[in-house]
Symmetry: C2
DNA sequence: TGCAAAACTGTTATGTTATAACAGGATTGT
DNA sequence: ACAATCCTGTTATAACATAACAGTTTTGCA
């Protein structure tokens, strides 16, 4: 039986996001078990907070929420949790926002490509194997060996365009 | 007669980089004159410093150099200059490095795509009309209107790969 | 079970990047 | 000359991120 997939839901109107969150956490639990790494309470809670937000969260926003809940709330706590979650492919860092968002396909090998709405702040993840191909060809022509990709497109999402049309 | 083009020279070994800098500054002067905007001394000097560096410069690195030269050296000085230069398309900000680099084709309409070497720190600008096309198609399928693109590929440049081969 | 190594967390301090807000000066067009 | 605009100086602070070291928990193995 295939893994339940969490779709990138940033621009989808009607859906039960609680379910997205539960699925994401369940997938994370399973992946960490498979990989023999530990999804500790702080790490799990950080992942949950990231998923609960409808826009990418800054480290200090996460930190503030952790503090309200009695967790330790010094910066290293949250940066360490985020580092772990990134290593496991459970969250992506969005460089142009200095913020973090849940990965919509943590059990698949991919790069995170994002459409980021400047109006509502939501970030939609594209799973971009085709893009990857085109980018790598350009790079190869220069003799460059690509190891990591940052692809972030900023603009207006379908909802935020609508009023203007 | 066409505009003299400044090539992206980050990964090219043998060239007279002083000439690159002079050309970049001359092009900037001309563009600003055409556009009736002012390439003031600080702005010009910031652009020159950015071009002089073989790797993208952080704002505070620029600031330090300005300070040594008797310019005012509080952060807003350099951030304002950089903002102007970005608006005029004379420099690009590299989000994944929090750093700035001179644009290699300021008189052409384009997005800055970068190959960034994690070893030597150099950043090579690709003028990526073809990429742009592929990216926009993906976005269009989602109903997303792209306004700005951040495309930064990190890895090893031709020179830094060589010793490993 | 007992122990050592490894992994994780707590804590303090500091480094780095970026902007807000307001005052003053230079430039431009009329 | 004057007003509007643009540019710069200055102080303060916000936002983002890591270093370094101490202590605890977990894990694997004798
Ligand atoms: Zn992802
Ligand atoms: Zn939107
Ligand atoms: Zn450019
Ligand atoms: Zn290199």
């Amino acid at each position: 039986m295939p893994t339940p997939q969490v779709a990138s839901c940033a621009f989808s109107d009607e859906h039960n996001h609680q379910r997205c969150i539960r699925t994401a956490l369940a997938t994370a639990e399973r992946l960490c078990a498979d990989r023999r790494c530990r999804l500790t309470p702080v790490r799990k809670r950080v992942l949950e907070l990231v998923w609960q937000s409808h826009t990418p969260l800054g480290a200090y926003q996460i930190l503030a929420q952790l503090g309200d809940e009695g967790f330790n709330s010094a910066p290293p706590t949250v940066y360490r949790a985020l580092e772990f979650l990134q290593e496991q492919g459970l969250v992506h860092r969005i460089a142009s926002l200095n913020a973090f968002t849940g990965c919509c396909a943590p059990d698949r090998q991919h790069h995170g490509y994002f459409l980021i709405c400047r109006q509502c702040g939501r970030a939609h993840e594209l799973e971009g194997q085709p893009l990857s191909q085109a980018l790598r060809e350009q790079a190869a022509r220069q003799g460059f060996m690509v190891e990591a990709e940052t692809v972030e497109l900023t603009g207006l999402c379908p909802h935020c365009r609508e009023p203007l049309a």
